[in-house]
Symmetry: C2
Subunit: 356 residues, 2 copies
Amino acid sequence: MKCLGAFTLVLATSISLNAQNKHKPLIIAEQGSFAVGGTTIIEPGSFDLNNSLKPQGQTFHGDHAYTFYQIPIKARKYPLVFLHGAGQSKKTWETTPDGREGFQNIFLRRRFPVYLIDQPRRGDAGKSSVSAAITPTPDEQFWFTQFRIGNYPDYFPDVQFPKDSASLEQFFRQMTPNTGSFDSNIISDAVSRLFDKIGEGILVTHSQGGGPGWFTAIKNDKVKAVVAYEPYSSFLFPQGELPQPIKSTGLFGELKGEEIPLADFLKLTKIPIVIYYGDNIAKGPTNVWNMDHWRSGLEMARIWATTINKHGGDATVVHLPEFGIKGNTHFPFSDLNNIQVADELSKWLKKKGLDK
Amino acid sequence: MKCLGAFTLVLATSISLNAQNKHKPLIIAEQGSFAVGGTTIIEPGSFDLNNSLKPQGQTFHGDHAYTFYQIPIKARKYPLVFLHGAGQSKKTWETTPDGREGFQNIFLRRRFPVYLIDQPRRGDAGKSSVSAAITPTPDEQFWFTQFRIGNYPDYFPDVQFPKDSASLEQFFRQMTPNTGSFDSNIISDAVSRLFDKIGEGILVTHSQGGGPGWFTAIKNDKVKAVVAYEPYSSFLFPQGELPQPIKSTGLFGELKGEEIPLADFLKLTKIPIVIYYGDNIAKGPTNVWNMDHWRSGLEMARIWATTINKHGGDATVVHLPEFGIKGNTHFPFSDLNNIQVADELSKWLKKKGLDK
């Protein structure tokens, strides 16, 4: 009883501290932004000052990432580097659609340096070395469903997403288009250059960011761990070990792994990796396409982690509802219970000695 | 002598505090981001969950602004709301190309709440209700010249811009394209909505941001002052009071004012306005096109301020070199002497009682 009492006290203190922290000032030792990585186009010829609108001899810098960073006082050793998913920007990690603190502030309060990326050809890193056509496409009810807020117009009954219209509007407005085609190689090059600049750290990816995330870790051993929220595609397997594709009624069809050289794959076995999935993912094949899409992702993640671990690695797949954390959408880090989701990550970082 | 001694002491303390402040932590009471304003497209028809990639019945939210804000502890009354210029994003106000603090940090240290905007159809506010084609165009030597860093490849001898290649690369990479056509009305609508949300404040614009800046002040009386760095076009005159166009060898040709109803114009006479221009602007007509372009801007600004003041307003045009502040480019707020440029603004805000 005494032991239980002490535990309860610690828990209560911890909750109370969290509640207080929410309104405590952030003490930032340093903050700023910069571009990193990228390519340069040089138009042949000579620049003519008197015909300066002609391209000859002029340059175009593009395909860099943009990052805004904050380093709190008494910072922990490893920064968290956040890479958004498809159609998103660094906004993903900032204020939530209903105005609460996102992972940016939550992990600053937990004394991690935080780097938020706009990947090449997105947001403030919009200069792209390839052309793009941008067309406004009414598709938000699709995304509502695809991102497992519910089956539009119905919210999932237990969903950890605010049900007021203002929050949904903020959620829709946080999407922002590609200004050039998605290119995993260009993105991972730029993020790898970021790690060259800032040193060792932890890469946190979301969804489509998962693919360039794995490639960044392969390219740069300063990536000391990868945390992936709901990756779907780009699960990388050694040549000859590709699993069978997973059939799905999801709108992206069957899910295939991707073959890479064994030497590259083995680099992913040298660092701890954790992958999180939220709720309302089917347990087995179903015609409810959004739930089945993510079922295929979760199943492939499990096959992938098993393959990593068979080769001596340390990969864990956490399906949050199995740990009592219910109702999460495709965006667990901004859901109503994102403090609880952050607590799970903090526990994992501590367990792996990554929070020193 | 005694009086002078006291003055010198105050000055020395102030400079010393500035130097210290540069490395002091920022204490932020609150920070976050949100979308504001914007339009909504609704595709006629009904959303069909089983054909969810069809647009029927789906929405598209676009044309909003994005803002990242920070409120320091012991904040002054009026926030500074920063609106970037052409081809730029909120990055304009963040870390300078050579890695020093920009106006974001400088004015946080001076206890102003700071709101940095990505205007509609730019950066993290990329969702546009109109289509756009984005093409990589080698034109950076033009911008180097147009923005008065020098006459490429030559730097102006006294220019307040770092001359190393890494800084120039950062400067080029901070540009980011439109994801829909520039629309002063849409931008000023969104910025006006921001003032509705946050209350009274001071609008700080750069270059092309000047136009939507004036319209925001006309639309919303919560704009208590406007500070415009190097506006070029969109000088607004009452009907019947349009001045003669100013001829120029600048690449935008002759500069015209813009007519608006007197009632709208008079709203700009109700608030203090200051306009700053940097150095290397021609004193009279010249064939050096960049110096002549900005000559026409400065001349029109002076005619405009005279017109405002004739109608009972309070507009001041500050040509920085005339006050001993030399070498500034089109980006005085990120130039090497940006602390000095910020000091000028602080003095003006104090003089107008806007720094309480």
